[in-house]
């Protein structure tokens, strides 16, 4: 219920961004789309586009570097918040069948966890099998006792995956071919381009094959590969790398409230809620490190005892 609220709030914000871009398209404010959003002559820049352009042209362009630095600082502070709050792709994915199926899966998973918890068994075999086979042995102690003596600072650990390989390919291809190759198929760009084409179709009656081709590429990328954000997106990959050095807005658990540390329960609700595969309670069992956190607040909403917060500055214990 409250969880639905955060999800809808995110959709609302992302929709607002799309609307703002659409309004920018028909005015001369020069708002730009998210590839370089800003007002008038000032704008931010997509870090993947900027790096590609710098590599492709093999020159250091002051104004691009400045914009890039500003964006890097923003990512350092807010991590991958762009993914949860601004990017239009999750918005598009909401309407795709696969996403609904995943949402259902998640619900089933969550139910099974709640069952497990309510039975208060001391073994959590299912969940463990999914998170790399490690057992949560001694649940009663503090966080430090989970996962064979490793400490929770393991949460700082980054894990590389196919997205990072594709990020490498993106930058390399730009350097080799001398133009930002990835930008041609970037679904974020294609979403805004499709929006623009539809608007121009209605405003000027401008027709083009692109109007058919862009949606087809988009659907291919988002439906056929389905796992764009998790497996492919080089922008998400780049932001996760930068966010590795971030200390702000990291999910933080109040141990006194958390059922695991205070009651020794097997609660894994926050882990199941996280769309990025982060287990805030047991970072070392987690599929992904906290650097992937998109600040979506799903975990905050899901925790039954409201133990999770995302403090602007890390709180010292």
């Amino acid at each position: 219920m409250r969880r639905m609220k955060v999800r809808n709030l995110r959709a609302l914000v992302a929709t607002f961004v799309v609307l703002a871009v659409a309004i920018g398209y028909v005015t001369v404010t020069g708002l730009g789309n998210v590839c370089a959003a800003g007002v008038g002559l000032v704008s931010s820049i997509c870090p993947v586009g900027a790096l590609s352009a710098l590599l492709a042209s093999k020159t250091l362009i002051p104004r691009t570097l400045v914009a890039l630095a500003v964006v890097a600082v923003l990512i350092l502070i807010f991590g991958r918040a762009f993914c949860a709050w601004i990017c239009p792709i999750p918005l598009v994915q909401r309407w795709l069948p696969d996403h609904r199926r995943r949402a259902q899966e998640l619900e089933v998973e969550t139910k099974s966890v709640i069952e497990t918890v309510s039975r208060s068994t001391s073994e959590d075999t299912d969940a463990d099998a999914r998170t790399g086979g490690k057992r949560i042995e001694d649940e009663k102690g503090s966080c430090a006792s989970c996962g064979e003596g490793t400490t929770c600072t393991a949460g700082a650990k980054m894990k590389l995956d196919s997205r990072h390989l594709i990020l490498g390919g993106t930058l390399l291809s730009a350097a080799v071919f001398g133009f930002p190759v990835f930008c041609l198929v970037c679904p974020i760009g294609l979403t805004f381009a499709t929006l623009l084409l539809v608007m121009r179709l209605f405003a000027f009656g401008e027709t083009t094959w692109t109007l058919l081709v862009f949606p087809v590429i988009l659907i291919l990328e988002l439906v056929v590969f389905r796992t764009w954000c998790r497996r492919i997106c080089p922008l998400g990959a780049l932001m996760s790398l930068i966010a590795g050095a971030s200390k702000t807005f990291r999910p933080h658990i109040d141990d006194e409230r958390c059922l695991v540390t205070s009651k020794g329960s097997l609660c894994r609700i926050c882990a199941k809620a996280c769309p990025e595969g982060i287990d805030v309670r047991h970072p070392d069992l987690s599929r992904h490190g906290v650097n992937e956190c998109s600040k979506c607040l799903e975990c905050v909403d899901a925790c039954p005892v409201h133990a999770i917060s995302l403090p602007p500055v890390p709180s010292r214990k």
């Binding site: 008038g40 352009a53 894990k159 594709i166 390919g169 071919f177 805004f192 590795g244």
Partner: protein
């Protein structure tokens, strides 16, 4: 810190397949894109094709900021490499070098976040050649002796003149491709000259690549 050991183990086959396939697609596209690329008229500063293509990230900034709505978007019909890049759209507006809106300093060039549009310090409208106007004589009202001099009066550079028979002629050395003529050309609206027009009688065409 990146835990490399963990990473090596964690990079399972599927991850590797996805990553490599993605990279291969990107490299395939990089090569393919060279195939169908045509010349298009770019906003001021986009005349050096290699420079422009290496830097434009399709952000739409230039198109949006143009006070005269003279910039449109290139489509697949203009070649894969050009898709989503800015292309002059003279039927909606023409380029006055931002004379009226910004005292002659091109806003599109100033707004471009990557300097894909880049003008030399001493750039003036007369020296930045976006394209050249070309008249289709069988569509032009003046050439069909129906007495039209609208483009002649519209040209800010006096690059169109009427010849002895009152037919408009473009003086190529004076035309900078601003598109004022194409913008005002009435050949389409004025009923057709011969019923088979598919465009305006005077259009700005991109320069042949030097």
């Amino acid at each position: 810190m990146v835990d490399m050991e963990q990473t090596a183990h964690g990079m399972m086959r599927r991850t590797f397949v996805f990553g490599t396939a993605g990279c291969l697609v990107l490299f395939g596209m990089g090569g393919l894109a060279y195939m169908g690329s045509t010349e298009v008229c770019r906003p001021p500063g986009g005349q050096d094709d290699d420079h422009f293509t290496s830097l434009c990230i399709h952000c739409e900034k230039c198109r949006e900021i143009c006070p005269n709505s003279a910039i449109g978007t290139a489509h697949i019909e203009d070649g894969l490499l050009n898709v989503r890049t800015p292309k002059m759209a003279y039927s909606y507006g023409w380029c006055d070098f931002c004379e009226e809106a910004n005292a002659g300093v091109p806003l599109c060039e100033s707004a471009c976040p990557t300097t894909a549009l880049l003008l030399p310090e001493d750039a003036r409208p007369e020296t930045v050649i976006i394209g050249k106007a070309v008249i289709n004589r069988s569509w032009c009202l003046g050439w069909q002796l129906m007495g039209c001099r609208i483009c002649v009066d519209a040209c800010p550079y006096q690059a169109i003149e009427l010849d002895g028979d009152k037919r408009p002629m473009v003086k190529e050395d004076l035309c900078n491709g601003c598109g004022a003529c194409e913008n005002v050309c009435v050949s389409m609206e004025n009923g057709s000259v011969n019923g088979e027009e598919s465009g305006r009688a005077i259009v700005v065409e991109p320069l042949e690549s030097a």
